[in-house]
């Protein structure tokens, strides 16, 4: 009798679940399509833009040795166009965006499209006062109190497109059944600073600001390449960053950050080590090598008034480093500047900071990197 009751209860619960009706995701109405100039992808390997009659197809994809994925979204300009059932479609003028990374915000901010962001993962980690203020004003919804996306918050924000990382997923169909359209974004996989910056064009296409994106990219590209070409190679080496507990995560010699610093004319101490991932060294290994490196480039979160003496206080061996003795520690304090987000769209300024720190240019007001006093 008791087991019969339990069985009835289970059947009833199942029937109730079946009764829950989901509203089918609908294609946004196409309104006020803006005439935009075409986008040409010059450096980036992770995305492409295909222009067709009545729509634009935005494709994102893996490349090289990265885990394979491919994704796409259609931007409609002709409402009569018929797409395959599973196609993801947005209207670029009114698109409401949810973002899994705060890096996306700098692209959108530069294009004056921050108002289109309705939800974000890690609002509390946004390190840019202006962007934080806008997010707060717009009551942007927090999506990730933990590592997981909070589905209720995602539904509440009701985005037209959720820009997500491709970590471990070949396609962005994880959210398909939820009716939320997603697009895999992996600008961090690009292997040069300009390629990473070029993703601003994708954001421009998505938000109807392709003209502005093209113009911004061109301006930065010219400034960056001009500075790079004027830079003289110095016969000097640099090490990077700080240890975490007893490990020192040194970037790969192929990393975008290292490439940018090398564009300032100095050579990475670990340039001969293979691989594209961070290299883990023990503290003692870097201490042994750090003695000889001419420069020490550090990107870290420290108190606003962090000084060279504070660095030495962290580990007394640092006072033996050539870079410390010669006051050639080039520091970027991420508690002060938005290096990881804003820095992505301002590589020309970062390069100028580095050239100034290494004595390649005489007059400049550093914004990201400066020599520790």
């Amino acid at each position: 009798m008791r087991s019969l009751s339990i069985l009835s209860l289970l059947i009833a619960s199942f029937a109730l679940m079946q009764c829950v009706q989901h509203t089918e995701a609908t294609i946004s109405e196409v309104t006020n399509q803006i005439e935009q100039e075409s986008v040409e992808v010059k450096y980036a390997e992770g995305f492409d833009i295909v222009y067709q009659e009545g729509f634009i197809k935005v494709i994102t994809q893996s490349f090289g040795e990265n885990a394979p994925f491919r994704d796409s979204v259609y931007i409609m300009s002709n409402s009569e166009k018929v797409f395959e059932t599973k196609s993801k479609i947005v209207n670029q003028v009114t698109v409401r965006l949810a973002c899994q990374s705060s890096t996306h915000l700098s692209f959108l901010d530069e294009l004056d499209r921050l108002d289109q962001v309705v939800a974000l993962c890690g609002i509390k980690y946004v390190n840019n006062a202006k962007i934080s203020k806008t997010l707060s004003k717009n009551e942007v919804i927090e999506l990730c109190m933990t590592d997981q996306v909070q589905m209720e918050n995602l539904y509440q924000s009701n985005p037209d497109l959720f820009l997500i990382y491709p970590f471990g997923s070949a396609e962005s169909n994880e959210f398909y059944d939820t009716g939320i359209q997603t697009l895999l974004i992996a600008e961090y996989l690009e292997e040069s600073q300009l390629a990473r910056l070029e993703w601003i064009k994708l954001f421009g296409v998505l938000t109807g600001r392709a003209n502005e994106a093209n113009a911004y990219f061109k301006e930065v590209e010219e400034a960056y390449l001009k500075l790079k070409n004027e830079t003289q190679p110095l016969e000097k080496t640099f090490i990077m960053n700080l240890p975490f507990q007893d490990q020192w995560f040194t970037p790969s010699s192929k990393s975008v950050g290292v490439e940018l610093i090398e564009d300032a004319g100095i050579q990475y101490y670990y340039r001969n080590e293979k691989g594209t991932e961070n290299i883990v060294h023990s503290n003692e290994q870097v201490w042994n090598d750090g003695i000889q490196a001419d420069y020490w480039v550090i990107i870290a979160r420290r108190p606003i008034d962090f000084k060279l003496a504070d660095l030495i206080a962290e580990q007394s061996v640092y006072k033996e480093f050539l870079s410390v003795q010669n006051h050639q520690v080039i520091f970027c304090n991420t508690s002060v500047v938005d290096y990881f987000s804003k820095g992505v769209i301002e590589p020309h300024i970062i390069l100028k900071d580095l050239c100034y720190a290494t004595g390649q240019i005489e007059s400049h007001e550093p914004q990201y990197f400066f020599l520790l006093e």
Partner: protein, 336 residues
């Protein structure tokens, strides 16, 4: 005969400690010759000025490993006798979790090691957390006669404190969260001279104080009634046991992170290997055996360029020992 084999065992362990200690000083990512290491230890200099710091770092972490391993092992031994349960230990009973919660409250609140105030705050918080858990366990023990059930209660404390720590993460900033997570992996590295001095002093003093418990421990093996009948003040002994083991485990946890398995595995292994039933012999053997295991684990960590977390190594070494001892005890039908 028994005495001879125990002395031989002590000799082997001490020899093992010396060998590992020297290997820990000599070997690493930066190769050095014995002569250079000797020279640097004698206060000399080397061509590369970083080498003196490297040797100092290797020396410091070896000392920390010896003391931390010993402290955890004797803490585990005393708890096993006191709770009359071979599976008792600082980790299983939730003492380490209590210390972790104390540390989490302070670290995730933004306080860091380095300043004297920061150090004291974290040490105190760790001790309070550990001792609080022990007192709670003791309180619960009044209502629970079964020692296995008491262990389950300890495990529940562990889960409970872990849940509280997860809640604290929600309010913590990125840096504090990272710091806490890395601390949680455990390491004997990173203590500066002043921290090493505090750590060494506290562990040595508390370990020596534990020797005051030799007589009560010998009596407690036969039960509290027997201990009381031969004049042991069970109440004050209980208090001392809680204080000494709680503070020992807390100090190690604060400075090295929650290091697992040494506290359970070593006492069990030593009980199998040592013939004597006298804690005047067992206690020091457990201490040096704990030192040997911790030093060995640290050596493996260092040989992996620190890419292997300490707790991974102690688990790989410690877990099979525990299983082996449990099986062995089961065969003999020994509950303790």
């Amino acid at each position: 005969m028994n005495l001879r084999s125990d002395i031989a065992l002590i000799g082997v362990i001490i020899l093992g400690i010396f060998i590992l200690f020297w290997m820990n000083l000599l070997l690493g990512d930066v190769p050095m010759k014995s002569a250079d290491v000797f020279n640097l230890l004698a206060g000399g200099t080397a061509d590369n000025p970083a080498w003196s710091y490297i040797v100092e770092s290797r020396l410091n972490r070896s000392i920390v490993a010896i003391l931390a391993g010993g402290a955890l092992a004797i803490s585990g031994l005393i708890l096993q006798v006191f709770f009359r349960n071979p599976l008792a230990g600082p980790g299983v009973l939730g003492i380490t979790s209590g210390a972790s919660l104390g540390v989490a409250v302070v670290v995730l609140g933004g306080v860091t090691m380095g300043s004297l105030l920061g150090n004291l705050g974290i040490i105190l918080a760790g001790i309070i957390g550990a001792v609080a858990v022990l007192f709670l366990l003791l309180f619960i023990a009044r209502f629970i006669r079964n020692s296995v059930t008491l262990l389950v209660a300890g495990l529940m404390f562990g889960y409970f404190t872990a849940a509280l720590i997860n809640i604290l993460f929600l309010w913590a900033n990125e840096t504090a969260t990272r710091k806490y997570v890395v601390w949680g992996l455990g390491s004997f590295e990173g203590l500066n001279q002043s921290e090493l001095l505090i750590f060494t002093t506290l562990i040595i003093v508390l370990s020596l104080l534990c020797f005051m418990l030799v007589k009560p421990l010998n009596a407690l093996v036969a039960g509290t009634d027997y201990a009381a009948s031969i004049g042991i003040n069970v109440k004050s002994t209980r208090l001392l046991i809680i204080l000494f083991t709680g503070v020992l485990a807390a100090i190690v946890t604060v400075y090295c992170g929650p290091v697992g398995f040494i506290g359970i595995a070593v006492p069990q292994l030593v009980r199998v290997l040592v013939k004597s039933k006298n804690h005047a012999v067992i206690l020091p053997v457990v201490f040096i055996a704990g030192s040997l295991l911790a030093l060995g684990a640290d050596f493996i960590v260092r040989m992996s360029s620190n890419s292997l977390p300490l707790n991974t190594v102690t688990a790989i070494v410690g877990a099979p020992i525990i299983i082996w001892v449990i099986v062995k005890m089961n065969q003999r039908n020994v509950s303790f």
